[in-house]
């Protein structure tokens, strides 16, 4: 039987080039489905990566208790002093705790592609910024100086929004701010932001109430519990302490889920259409080969090898289609950078990421569509009435 199977399959595949017209329907149909599926999922994965990469297990974010995002939170200077003296924080070379008191606000900056205003995060950061976030690397320019209206722009923001290159001037609230540098930070969410000295930002927006958050670097990831306990049991404070990865994971959850649902739904509907296409072309493939199949049956080939050979053909074509689709998605969209409104009311710039896992998912979908599309034609092939088929010739 195995011998029969290889013989029939080999024969099938040899005649494939003659049927290229109809076979290509399967390949192109499935390529379309997989390309759409992989691209949409790549958006969700990219967004998740950007937010997930913002977190380090040994970094904590402290918000006022009950505020779920930085924008809504409020800490006073006294709160910051208490937090800075808590046990478990890493110390810099001078023995100062690695804590950055931050103020998050949103500035209107036009998007490059549409020209319409978008909310870009302007984050006031404390003097310990580089100790707390060592991943910050300058692409061009230099650090802002405290006390003057200078800011640095994330590489993602610089690409998506107008006027954020080194040396340009940004007008914010009656004052001109100079962009002194562009930085990367491991592709995380801060690359979508503008950073400036926290006290300068505070005075610029005339905020009197204090800061949004405090970001601390722990001496080690294990000191989290002790640090958290110290803050949450302190009667002077009412704060929530979270590990950074947990905070950002909560923010990316909704959008990632939406993108996944939308991507899967659209691709599933499309897949049904492609399956009908596959059915059509496999039926016609079987029809054009009916004489050949009848002959095989007449000289003693069994039904099973014929069924399997037709299925294998469908599978091969859909594999081809799946690979093509995934490749198209990768070539056109991998690394493509887009931006959306993130959980905190401000733009998050992220890159579409076609991962190996997505490619595998796409190819699995392709194979399922191919198998479903090949199944009925395969059964029909095995049931061709031998005598009639031979006579019809």
């Amino acid at each position: 039987m195995f011998k029969q199977l290889t013989a029939v399959t080999a024969m099938n595949l040899q005649t494939l080039p003659q049927r290229w017209g109809t076979s290509s329907v399967i390949v192109i149909g499935i390529a379309g489905v997989v390309a759409v599926l992989v691209s949409l999922l790549a958006m969700g994965v990219g967004f998740q990566h950007t937010l997930a990469d913002s977190g380090r297990a040994d970094r904590v974010i402290i918000l006022r208790g009950g505020s779920d995002v930085e924008l809504n939170s409020n800490l006073t200077r006294a709160d910051i002093d208490v937090i800075a003296s808590a046990p478990g924080l890493a110390k810099d070379a001078l023995g100062k705790p690695a804590l950055s008191n931050e103020l998050v606000t949103v500035a209107n900056v036009p998007k490059i592609d549409t020209g319409t205003d978008a909310n870009v995060t302007l984050r006031g950061v404390g003097a310990k910024l580089l100790t707390v976030r060592p991943e910050i690397q300058f692409v061009s320019g230099r650090m802002f100086r405290p006390g003057v209206r200078e800011l640095i722009a994330g590489a993602g923001a610089a690409k998506q929004f107008r006027g954020l290159t080194t040396g340009s001037i940004l007008r914010l609230r009656n004052a001109d701010w100079t962009v002194t540098g562009v930085f990367t930070s491991n592709g995380d969410v801060h690359e979508s932001e503008l950073l400036a000295d926290v006290d300068t930002v505070t005075s610029a927006i005339e905020r009197t109430a204090g800061y949004s958050s405090a970001i601390g670097l722990l001496a080690s990831p294990d000191s989290f519990d002790a640090f958290k306990d110290a803050l949450t049991t302190d009667p002077r404070l009412k704060v929530d302490v979270q590990r950074e990865p947990d905070y950002y994971a909560a923010q990316s959850k909704d959008l990632s889920k939406t993108l996944k649902v939308v991507g899967t739904t659209v691709a599933a509907i499309m897949a049904i259409g492609a399956m009908f296409g596959a059915l059509n072309s496999m039926y016609s493939a079987v029809a054009t080969r009916s004489l050949e199949i009848a002959t095989l049956r007449a000289i003693g080939f069994g039904g099973v090898p014929i069924v399997i050979s037709v299925l294998l053909e469908a599978l091969l074509l859909s594999l081809l289609g799946g690979t093509l689709g995934a490749a198209l998605a990768w070539v056109f969209f991998n690394g493509h950078s887009v931006s959306t409104l993130g959980g905190a009311f401000a733009q998050v710039v992220f890159k579409l990421t076609v991962t190996r896992r997505l490619i595998v998912t796409g190819i699995i979908w392709a194979c399922i569509i191919g198998l479903l599309g090949g199944l009925f034609p395969a059964v029909r092939a095995a049931r061709i009435p031998v005598a009639e088929a031979l006579r019809a010739a």
Partner: protein
């Protein structure tokens, strides 16, 4: 028309093939209908209706998160053409757990209902109760149902932004009335609306007193919206609280635009869908004509002219695509209520579906070009000879 039976018969020459092709066209137009309506919803906030054309929104020029001062009210009121002004604030509330988001807004009860005078139906008695109860709230009917509240209940909301004097983020209100939105669009947009008194809010909060998040103006003449916007902004130019005023619709549109280039994504998907489908249907048509070459040759021999032959092939394609589009768009129309639930806050309109039929015709024509050309160019003698 007299050839219709012939076209119909040839269409069903190979039943399974036609059905499968038809089904994939149905799928394509179903997707088309769905994605176009979503695109329409995102590019036309508030639906195609005219409501809101006479409303302007004034926010802080530099950032929507920065406040304005209630003291600016007087100046805005004095602009000729502005008939009513009200002010609102973000409250960022939820009920019991964060997933139960409630769009709670502190309002000034007099001016709010002057600006929104035709959006809601509220029983007179309940309105009266709201005006006289300091902690009173008006709640949308949908929200009452969602949490099983009723008029007379005391409900606590957690604000993620505002602390009270005692540092607590929990605020307690008394439900005194129900807001019944006048249109289904409003009902879906304002499903979680919860209105309470600005006075109580401003007295209760322990910081940011006297600030508002935005003003809303009602204007006498919608055609003046741009001019009035400029006039309002000019009042505060170079002050500490510069403003940005725009028609309510533009404001909503700008907000949706911030979600990203949704139109581009949807059209890219549709492009992929139609390219794939074009290929598939074109292939079927080609196959069908190829199989019918002898028949077409017979028709030609009988004296059918090229235009008629062309008409037959194109007609078949139009019929196939037309039926597919009709069914597919029908399905997507039927899915509208479901979509509405999924995309709360944006309005869907069946107008998004109409261009589908144009696309169907265009599509049918493209698909039939090659097969029709082949049928027309057919050489009778060769074609008849090829039969044996």
């Amino acid at each position: 028309m007299k050839f219709f039976p012939l076209v119909w018969a040839t269409l069903w020459r190979k039943k399974t093939r036609t059905i499968f092709t038809l089904l994939s066209i149905v799928v394509a137009f179903l997707l088309f209908g769905l994605l176009e309506t979503v695109d329409y919803a995102f590019s036309h906030p508030g639906g195609g209706s005219n409501s809101g054309a006479d409303r302007l929104i004034t926010i802080n020029k530099y950032s929507i998160t920065l406040p304005l001062q209630l003291a600016q009210l007087g100046d805005i009121k004095s602009v000729p053409g502005v008939t009513a002004v009200t002010w609102l604030s973000w409250f960022g509330a939820y009920y019991q757990e964060p997933k139960n988001f409630v769009f709670a807004e502190p309002i000034d009860s007099d001016s709010y209902f002057k600006v929104y005078n035709d959006d809601y139906v509220i029983a007179d008695q309940q309105m009266q109760a709201f005006r006289t109860t300091r902690t009173g709230v008006l709640v949308s009917a949908a929200l009452l149902q969602k949490f099983g509240w009723k008029v007379g209940d005391k409900v606590p909301l957690h604000s993620t932004i505002w602390t009270q004097k005692d540092g607590s983020l929990d605020w307690t209100f008394d439900i005194v009335g129900v807001l019944n939105p006048k249109t289904p669009e409003l009902a879906s947009q304002q499903a979680t609306i919860f209105l309470f008194h600005y006075e109580m809010f401003d007295e209760g909060r322990n910081f940011g007193k006297g600030t508002v998040a935005w003003f809303e103006e009602r204007i006498a003449d919608p055609a003046q919206s741009a001019a009035l916007s400029n006039k309002i902004d000019a009042l505060f130019a170079n002050s500490a609280n510069e403003t940005k005023t725009q028609p309510a619709k533009d404001f909503a549109l700008a907000f949706l635009k911030q979600l990203g280039d949704i139109g581009f994504i949807l059209h890219a998907i549709l492009g992929a869908v139609f390219f794939t489908l074009l290929f598939l249907t074109g292939n079927t048509m080609m196959q069908s004509v190829r199989e019918r070459i002898p028949e077409l040759a017979v028709l030609k021999t009988l004296g059918f002219g090229n235009p008629t032959i062309l008409g037959l092939v194109v007609g078949e394609s139009l019929l196939l695509c037309g039926i597919g589009a009709l069914i597919g768009l029908g399905f997507s129309y039927a899915a509208l209520p479901g979509l509405k639930k999924l995309l709360q806050g944006v309005d869907l309109s069946p107008d998004g579906v109409t261009p589908g039929f144009l696309i169907a015709v265009l599509f049918a024509l493209i698909v039939s070009i090659l097969p029709a050309a082949r049928a027309v160019r057919l050489n009778i003698i060769d074609a008849l000879a090829s039969q044996h």
